[in-house]
């Protein structure tokens, strides 16, 4: 009870600091007597939005949402711009199936480390600068795709372009900084899902741009090169928008918050340590490799698969391949929302069960996809498969924000990086060269999904429980769990207050259970703003 009062005092103290400390927000300019900063959406004690209003662009929450998903979308468009045009590119550059497979692996392997690095960068300099820097630095790789002339150069541009997929981490970090626990699942789901949409949209956009340019009169082998300027330019534009219109946190940008003392500077080594030493981060990294990693793999191979197996036109194969990625419009956000809904009733245990069920079923559908030989059945199975595998991605990031508060960026980065590792491993084993036919590779990938989803059973939160066990009988609270990341010296300095606030807000993960014996006696409502 006492600690609660101190936290609330501190919260109101911080809020009353001069508004100049914040870069945005709809609060009264210069009016220092207002008790709270005014935002156009309701907020919690950390000023994170408690409502997710999809069609608003209010500062700073929804604006951050739109900036992050559009920039991530553009990175996806660029990273997967080559696959739908491969039937042309492979003839222009005289590529073999091995070359194509290697480049596919390269396209997703760069982001493995880039994502982890991005996680740490977000923790240290904020998502706005981190993501814009990455986007500006990878745009040249997309521009240079127009001038490649060999298998090696093809591999190199795809490798460096793929680094931009690390913007996923900054997207999730930004959403987790702007949105409160009850809605963080859906915020992450929409941002991630609408970004991943780029992988589908590009299968439509690139063949279209290519045919337009070719019909104007360019030779095939020149038209595809010109087409690459479109994603490159779009990507650059989004970086500009982030820097001009974006803001790291509800209260302002990292730089200014750090200087005014509101955001204490954290130690890189400690942040990294608390991230990598949390086993849940590793398990989620593995399982994410088999929902998101599978999604990336399919983005790389599916257009060619339909073109070659069913003798379709390039355009048609592109449309079908696109429908896989386009399902992200609703399936990944749907996963996030379902995770939030399940959590309201069953808490974190519900989130874990939902994820396991959804991803396992996706694996079954993947097995079937490789076995069907008719075009129409294949398309139907693929679409259902896409809904489940993408929903699983959304559900994963309904769990990630709760694994760690101090090292949120590192955990997001590890999970995100794990997604790419899954893509790398899967493509290396099943889709490189001519060892397996594509259909066989798809079926085997489905089997691997089911196996690699089992470790979710091992995730256990002492304060909330796991799939098979309830919360610890030692009555561990959310505060105990999150404050466990700070040692006593750091707590004396007061560095842990953000974690405390988060711990309070995360009580919603207990679910609505009749048995209230696990709750501390002094807390009757989850909302800490009541005094």
């Amino acid at each position: 009870m006492k600690t609660e009062a101190i936290v609330r005092e501190k919260a109101s103290m911080e809020v009353e600091q001069p508004p100049a400390a914040g870069g945005g927000g709809g609060f009264n300019n210069g009016n220092q007597s207002s008790e709270e900063q005014k935002f156009s959406v309701p907020v919690d004690s950390e000023n994170k939005a408690t409502e997710f209003r999809l069609f608003s662009i209010s500062k700073p929450h929804m604006r951050a949402f739109h900036l992050s998903w559009i920039s991530f979308f553009s990175c996806f468009v660029s990273s997967f711009a080559a696959p739908p045009l491969l039937p042309i590119i492979r003839d222009n550059l005289n590529l073999t199936a091995t070359d194509i497979g290697n480049a596919g692996v390269a396209s997703v392997s760069g982001a493995v480390f880039a994502r982890v690095a991005m996680g740490t960068a977000c923790d240290l300099v904020g998502p706005r600068l981190a993501s814009a820097s990455l986007i500006f630095l990878t745009a040249p790789a997309v521009y240079f795709t127009s001038v490649i002339n060999s298998a090696t150069s093809y591999l190199l541009v795809r490798f460096f372009t793929g680094f931009s997929l690390a913007t996923f981490v900054s997207t999730q970090f930004w959403m987790s900084s702007m949105f409160s626990p009850p809605v963080v699942g859906r915020a992450n789901g929409f941002a991630g899902g609408w970004g991943n949409l780029g992988g589908g949209a590009t299968q439509l956009i690139m063949p279209l741009v290519f045919s337009l340019i070719r019909d104007i009169g360019a030779a095939q082998f020149t038209a595809w090169r010109i087409a690459f300027f479109v994603p490159a330019f779009f990507q650059m534009l989004t970086a500009f928008s982030i820097l001009i219109f974006g803001q790291d946190m509800p209260d302002g940008n990292f730089q200014r918050l750090k200087k005014s003392g509101e955001k204490p500077k954290d130690e890189f080594s400690k942040v990294l340590f608390h991230g990598v030493s949390n086993y849940r981060g590793w398990i989620l990294a593995l399982t994410y490799g088999y929902c998101f990693g599978v999604e990336l793999t399919i983005d790389n191979i599916i257009a060619e698969y339909f073109y070659d197996r069913f003798n379709l036109k390039l355009h048609t194969a592109g449309i079908i391949a696109a429908s896989f990625g386009l399902a992200n419009l609703f399936s990944r956000p749907g996963g996030g929302m379902l995770s939030d809904a399940v959590s309201r009733r069953f808490g974190m245990r519900g989130r874990l069960w939902a994820l396991w069920l959804c991803q396992t079923f996706a694996g079954v559908l993947c097995i079937i996809l490789g076995l069907v030989g008719s075009l129409s059945v294949s398309v139907v199975v693929m679409i259902i498969f896409s809904v489940f595998v993408q929903a699983a991605c959304g559900m994963t990031f309904g769990i990630v924000p709760f694994v760690s508060r101090r090292s949120l960026g590192v955990i997001s980065g590890m999970t995100g990086g794990g997604g790419n590792v899954g893509a790398v491993v899967t493509q290396l084993i099943f889709f490189k060269g001519s060892r397996f036919s594509k259909e066989r590779g798809i079926t085997l990938m489905g089997v691997m999904i089911i196996i690699c989803t089992l470790p979710i059973c091992l995730i256990y939160f002492p304060q909330w429980g796991g799939m098979f066990f309830g919360p610890s009988s030692k009555k561990v609270t959310e505060e105990d769990y999150y404050l466990g990341e700070w040692n006593s010296k750091e707590q004396e300095k007061g560095s842990h207050h953000a974690s405390m606030k988060f711990a309070d807000n995360s009580v919603s993960e207990r679910g609505r259970r009749l048995n209230t014996s696990t709750r501390p006696a002094d807390e009757s409502t989850p909302s800490p703003t009541h005094v």
Binding site: N92, F136, P140, A219, Q220, R225, A239, L243, D308, S434
Partner: protein
């Protein structure tokens, strides 16, 4: 639940079975009655968009008279040699003609007149979308139902003799190179400009 599984399984089986039966002719059932020649010599390298290939085709004179009476059209195609099919499943040779991907570039299609005894000839400028590879030339004869009935090719049955190469256009242009470089430099420079602005803003608010 079990009945649903049975239904799905039987549907799958039906579709899988359907793919086993190919529609259309098989290459192995075609008769090699046409004599086809192409102007490139063995091992010659030609440039796409620039060089020409002259193809000739006609029925083999040593065969009995009515062999070609059913032929209505002849399509002459550019086909990949085995070395260019290696590790490239999209150029695979299949016996079933509807699934065969060996000959993907059409040189010419002409109606065939059995009564005309002269050898047919055509000169073709190699199109700019022909990729770099090793090739031979094959002609298919079609009957009035547009089904293949016979063929002829410039190489032997194992596709090892008389092969020639074509060099594709690169598709690159100097203007594209320059644009790429300019935009890339702009992108990186913008980043540094923004960093500088942020640093200055930070100093001012202090």
């Amino acid at each position: 639940m079990a009945s649903r599984l049975v239904l799905v399984a039987s549907l799958l089986l039906c579709f899988l079975a359907g793919t086993c039966y190919g529609k259309g002719g098989h290459f192995s059932s075609l008769k090699k009655t046409l004599v086809v020649t192409a102007s490139p010599k063995k091992g010659q390298v030609l440039k796409a968009g620039v060089d020409k290939i002259t193809v000739t085709w006609g029925v083999n004179k040593t065969l009995p008279g009515g062999t070609d009476s059913a032929y209505k059209t002849v399509k002459v195609k550019l086909c990949y040699a085995p070395i260019s099919q290696k590790d490239r499943a999209w150029r695979k040779t299949e016996d079933e003609l509807s699934r065969d991907k060996t000959c993907q570039h059409k040189i010419v299609a002409k109606p065939y007149d059995a009564s005309n005894k002269t050898v047919n000839r055509f000169e073709w400028v190699i199109e700019r979308d022909v990729p770099t590879a090793t090739y031979f030339v094959r002609a298919y004869a079609f009957d009035s139902d547009e089904a293949e009935v016979a063929y002829g090719q410039t190489t032997d049955a194992k596709k090892t003799t008389n092969l020639f190469e074509i060099q594709a256009i690169s598709g690159r242009h100097a203007s594209l190179d320059i644009c790429s470089i300019c935009f890339s430099v702009f992108s990186v420079a913008s980043l540094f400009v923004f960093f500088y602005i942020e640093k200055r803003k930070g100093k001012v608010s202090k």
